[in-house]
């Protein structure tokens, strides 16, 4: 067993520097690497390029980095629900690249899988395709998209073992598994870190080979963005 575990978030982020490109898992506030984000705020790392499906809300998730103006460029598919983000974007302080969600997912997966680029129909005929190679396959037009290149990937999983094997819970899975191994260094934070032997190999969702560092996170808030309930009938 190759042990990937580190004792805390500070060691997990060793080597992080200004101007780096980061991949961050999560959909909305669901399955985001809360501990890694808090540590980036504490370390005052700036000029970051962040790739994540969303940009958090004003006072949580990536919104915390936006508040401190630590993000120079954001690559995302949807950025509603964040006033500070909108203000920085419209004022030109923040460089924003919006891309289709499936393309974002596949650009991460391609990086993980060593595929430099791929064709997708998403965005053909729109401003997303401007300046990109397009090609016809089976009578339909497609756009060439590149794999992401990133320095660090910050992943949140439910459970993990010292070998870096991961299990996710519910819809907190989202972009996390496909961002593992898609950056030079993948840091996984988990709610429960167990010794090897406590996760059945049949249950592993991401094999530890894609994870360089794993640690047990603390104080998860797991905020719900849109709490919605039905009433008993």
């Amino acid at each position: 067993m190759i042990n990937k575990s580190v004792p805390n978030v500070s060691e997990a982020l060793e080597g992080i520097q200004n101007n780096m490109t980061l991949l961050l898992g999560g959909f909305g506030l669901c399955g985001i690497p809360e501990n890694a984000i808090a540590e980036l705020v504490r370390l005052k790392i700036t000029n970051l390029c962040c790739i994540s499906n969303n940009a958090g809300v004003d006072d949580f998730g990536l919104g915390l980095l936006l508040q401190q103006k630590q993000i120079k460029k954001m690559i995302a598919s949807y950025v509603g629900e964040n006033e500070e983000f909108e203000r920085q974007m419209l004022s030109g302080e923040l460089d924003v690249e919006l891309i289709p969600q499936g393309t974002l997912a596949e650009r991460a997966r391609a990086a993980q899988a060593g595929i430099p680029a791929f064709f997708t129909p998403a965005g053909f005929g729109t401003e997303i395709a401007q300046g990109k190679e397009v090609r016809e396959f089976n009578g339909k037009m497609h756009v060439l998209e590149n794999a992401f290149k990133a320095d660090f990937g910050f992943i949140k999983a439910w459970k993990g073992d010292e070998a870096g094997n991961l299990i996710f819970k519910g819809s907190a899975r989202n972009f996390n598994p496909i961002m593992c191994g898609a950056a030079k260094i993948t840091v996984a934070e988990v709610e429960e870190l167990v010794a090897v032997g406590n996760i059945d190999p049949n249950e592993v969702q991401v094999p530890g080979i894609f994870v360089q560092r794993i640690f047990e996170g603390t104080n998860y808030e797991k905020r719900i963005e849109q709490p919605t309930v039905r009433h008993k009938t």
Binding site: S77, G80, A105, G125
Partner: protein, 218 residues
Amino acid sequence: MPLDKNRIAQRIAQELKNGYFVNLGIGIPTLVANYIPKDINVEFQSENGVLGMGPFPLEGEEDADLINAGKQTITTLLGASFFDSSISFAMIRGKHIDLTVLGAMEVSQTGDIANWKIPGKMVKGMGGAMDLVASAENIIVAMMHTNRKGISKLLKKCTLPLTGVNCVKKIVTELAVLDIGPNGFILRETAPGVSIEEIIQATEGDLTLGEEIREMSF
């Protein structure tokens, strides 16, 4: 009388067929789930990684790890599954989803759709909409026929940045059900009490009358 949002959703629900896998967008499309005909089984996919989505949870049973694409808390039904975003869009791009319902700011008579950006004013992003419209073969747009100023949203050509081209096949508005054909919009159904003349007035794009125009029934 023009339909309200729930009625629009109810009319779209009549398009559901037994065995369909369905992706519903945010807004009016989400309401379609409230009107599934009793005698059929359909499964709802949420692009953040859920198939077999159920109703909202009861108070006290919300789970932060279980949300839909609108970030609302949800539940799952028997037979449900979770998966990553790449698998989710494999379902979408790979045409495994039978019906996609989404909202729009504008639709053109050639089936172009715009729904993610108003230059200089509002940029929320396309989310999964560009992937959905580029691949889905069965797309229904749920929208209001005109904007708040009374200007038609069914146009010869879209004015806003596009989400996809030549992809919309059917539109349900508060006034009408329309298909898109080789010569533009085709009127198929009118909302109860709405005249064909009103629909013509509210449609900027080329509109032809279907062979048999019926009044919507619920």
